[in-house]
């Protein structure tokens, strides 16, 4: 057996239960996603032209109902793929160092290896590869499912199911792995570290999400109110003032917009009389949209941000492992 294979086998053996659980869960989820995707494709193929949501065709009711049920199930599966990276990362990351400290094996391993960083690299490498491979599987199957549920979806230019499909799953999993790893090394006890890591991960991912919202807003453009922009991400409504500025309803009216009236033409009026006659037009309601063409840019940006945080977590772990006692 080559050295690399032996290293992989030993590393996997040390976390075999977590890896078995995660592998079974990931493969199970991927298989179900493929089955549901195939069901959706089969319905679409059997009833061509029936599934356009903008067109009603007589005789399509049963097919549409069936497709809606599959879509509902598929959407739920995509929620699972959203949570999977967090669960996988923490379940593998927390015990990687914490269990060694908990069980006292770090004392032997850290004296045998001489370099704790070398030891950490060995332990981490194969686990990180396992996380990346399993999440790549989920990333691919989730995209396939999304495509089946929405045949008009342009995978690389559409914000639909953003963060629940594709390569983002991998980097989110690696960040969760890094957070679990760092806190496991710092706390040195598995259960407390897992609980803290869950809290910290939720906080980090929430902060990243809020940051991305700001980032997305900076790239948004106004679009006509109520008109669907295929592939775009709607961030909310704004009022376009005659001078070109975009303001929120609350910005326009200090009373949180309660005196604002919106006409059927989408115009915003500052007042309306008892008969419903609108007056004092102020601007036009518009939707704030991030065009689907920006999707690859934002996936790349978020991946880079999460990847940098994951590397930072790994570096923090290395620092802690170098400094801390093995007990």
């Amino acid at each position: 057996m080559t050295g690399l294979l032996r290293r992989a086998r030993l590393s996997i053996a040390l976390q075999r239960w977590e890896l078995a659980l995660i592998t079974a869960g990931s493969i199970g989820l991927a298989v179900v996603m493929v089955i549901v995707g195939n069901q959706a494709q089969a319905i679409a193929a059997a009833h061509p032209g029936c599934l356009d949501p903008n067109t009603f065709r007589a005789g399509c009711e049963a097919a549409m109902k069936e497709f809606d049920q599959v879509t509902d199930l598929g959407s739920k599966l995509l929620y699972f793929s959203y949570g999977a990276p967090l669960g996988m990362g923490l379940l593998l990351g927390v015990p990687l160092v914490a269990r060694e400290i908990d069980h006292g094996t770090a004392s032997i391993a850290w004296t045998l290896s001489r370099s704790r960083i070398r030891w950490l690299s060995w332990r981490l490498a194969f686990v990180a590869i396992a996380v990346a491979v399993l999440l790549a599987l989920l990333g691919v199957t989730s995209e396939r499912l999304a495509q089946a549920l929405q045949p008009s979806l342009h995978l690389d230019a559409d914000f639909t199911w953003y963060g629940r499909r594709g390569w983002l799953l991998i980097v989110r999993g690696l960040l969760a792995l890094g957070i679990g790893l760092a806190l496991g090394a710092l706390i040195g006890r598995q259960l407390p570290a897992l609980l803290v890591a869950i809290l910290v991960s939720v906080a980090v991912f929430t902060a990243v999400s809020l940051g991305m919202d700001r980032w997305l807003e900076s790239a948004s453009v106004p679009a006509p109110f109520g008109v669907e922009v295929p592939g775009g991400m709607q961030l909310g409504e704004r009022i376009a003032l005659p001078d070109g500025r975009l303001v929120r309803f609350a910005d326009l009216d200090p009373n949180q917009g309660y005196n604002i009236a919106i006409g059927p033409d989408g115009r915003v009026y500052a007042s309306a009389d008892a008969n419903g006659v609108l007056s004092d037009p102020r601007g036009q309601v518009v939707d704030l949209i991030v065009p689907g063409s920006a999707y690859p840019t934002f996936v790349l940006r978020e991946s880079a941000l999460l990847g940098a945080l994951a590397l930072g977590s790994a570096a923090a772990t290395a620092f802690v492992v170098r400094r801390r006692r093995p007990y």
Binding site: G3, L10, L14, T105, S107, A109, L112, R114, W119, R325
Partner: protein, 277 residues
């Protein structure tokens, strides 16, 4: 410069909770032989060994392994050290053979054949998972891992504490044989004097974080006596198992002291000093 392989100069260690585990330890352990580090619980034995392994950073003073600072030069220092912790702490999920394979992965210079031969001599099945081994067998595996490093220095942190008498004897036999044949230096900490008496060449008695005695076993036995009556310039008096008082002196008295009596006398002297202080 000295020819000592393990050194401590004014070494002191205080833990966060404010307890001084070691206080101004001065030691120089020369190459070769087995040195017993004896003392009661909380005497600082583990802390001293862990400082030489590089697990603990000295609060004051310095420690050295082959002239290297084990904290700052951990990588270089550990090249000279094989370590056996207090509990064997093996990987439950791995077989004995896996442990040897892992040792090779972690330390390419690990002598797998040598460690395997040691285990085979003891009839320890290498295909058995570690969790299925007895406490004595696990301790032997931990010792084999330390011996397989072929390090010049073996640091053993109370490896006998949890073993039954037969397993303790076997462990000491393997250790003695390995040290004698390889010319290594071993520091074996224990609070059971009778166990180490046969195996060790040198004795360090540690109490309340200080070195109370550092001598060869032969010299210690030759220069200490006990008396049933209190004597001036005695090391200390201590109670025997039957309640009678025995006084340890350097020099000649009623009869030569046993190693256990020497250790007890010095530990009693530390207690007296501590109370007086």
């Amino acid at each position: 410069m000295t020819d000592a392989v393990l050194e401590a100069r004014g070494l002191a260690k205080r833990y966060r909770r404010g307890v001084w585990a070691l206080q101004a330890i001065d030691l120089a352990i020369p190459a070769g032989g087995i040195t017993a580090l004896v003392g009661p619980n909380a005497a600082g034995k583990s802390t001293l060994i862990k400082t030489w392994v590089g697990f603990e950073k000295p609060t004051r003073g310095s420690a050295a392994v082959m002239g290297l600072d084990p904290w700052r030069q951990r990588f270089e220092s550990l090249a000279h050290v094989g370590y056996v912790p207090q509990s064997p702490s093996l990987y439950d999920a791995l077989t004995v053979e896996d442990h040897l394979a892992m040792a090779v992965q972690l330390r390419p210079s690990f002598d797998r054949a040598y460690a395997a031969a040691r285990l085979d001599q003891l009839g320890i099945p290498r295909s058995a998972p570690a969790r299925q081994l007895s406490g004595g067998q696990q301790a032997q595996v931990a010792l084999a891992l330390a011996l397989g490093t072929r390090a010049e220095i073996l640091l053993l942190d109370e490896p006998l504490a949890s073993l039954d008498p037969l397993a303790r004897r076997e462990f000491l036999h393997v250790l003695t044989d390995a040290v004698r044949s390889d010319g290594a230096t071993a520091l074996l900490s224990s609070h059971i004097v009778t166990d180490v008496e046969q195996a060790c060449d040198n004795l360090i008695v540690l109490g309340v974080g200080r070195v109370l005695l550092h001598d060869s076993v032969t010299d210690a036995l030759a220069t200490h006596s006990v008396s049933a009556t209190p004597l001036p310039d005695a090391v200390a008096s201590f109670a025997e198992a039957d309640g009678s008082l025995l006084t340890l002196v350097r020099g000649t008295a009623d009869r030569p002291a046993t190693l256990e009596e020497i250790v007890l006398g010095y530990l009693a002297s530390a207690r007296t000093t501590s109370i007086a202080a």
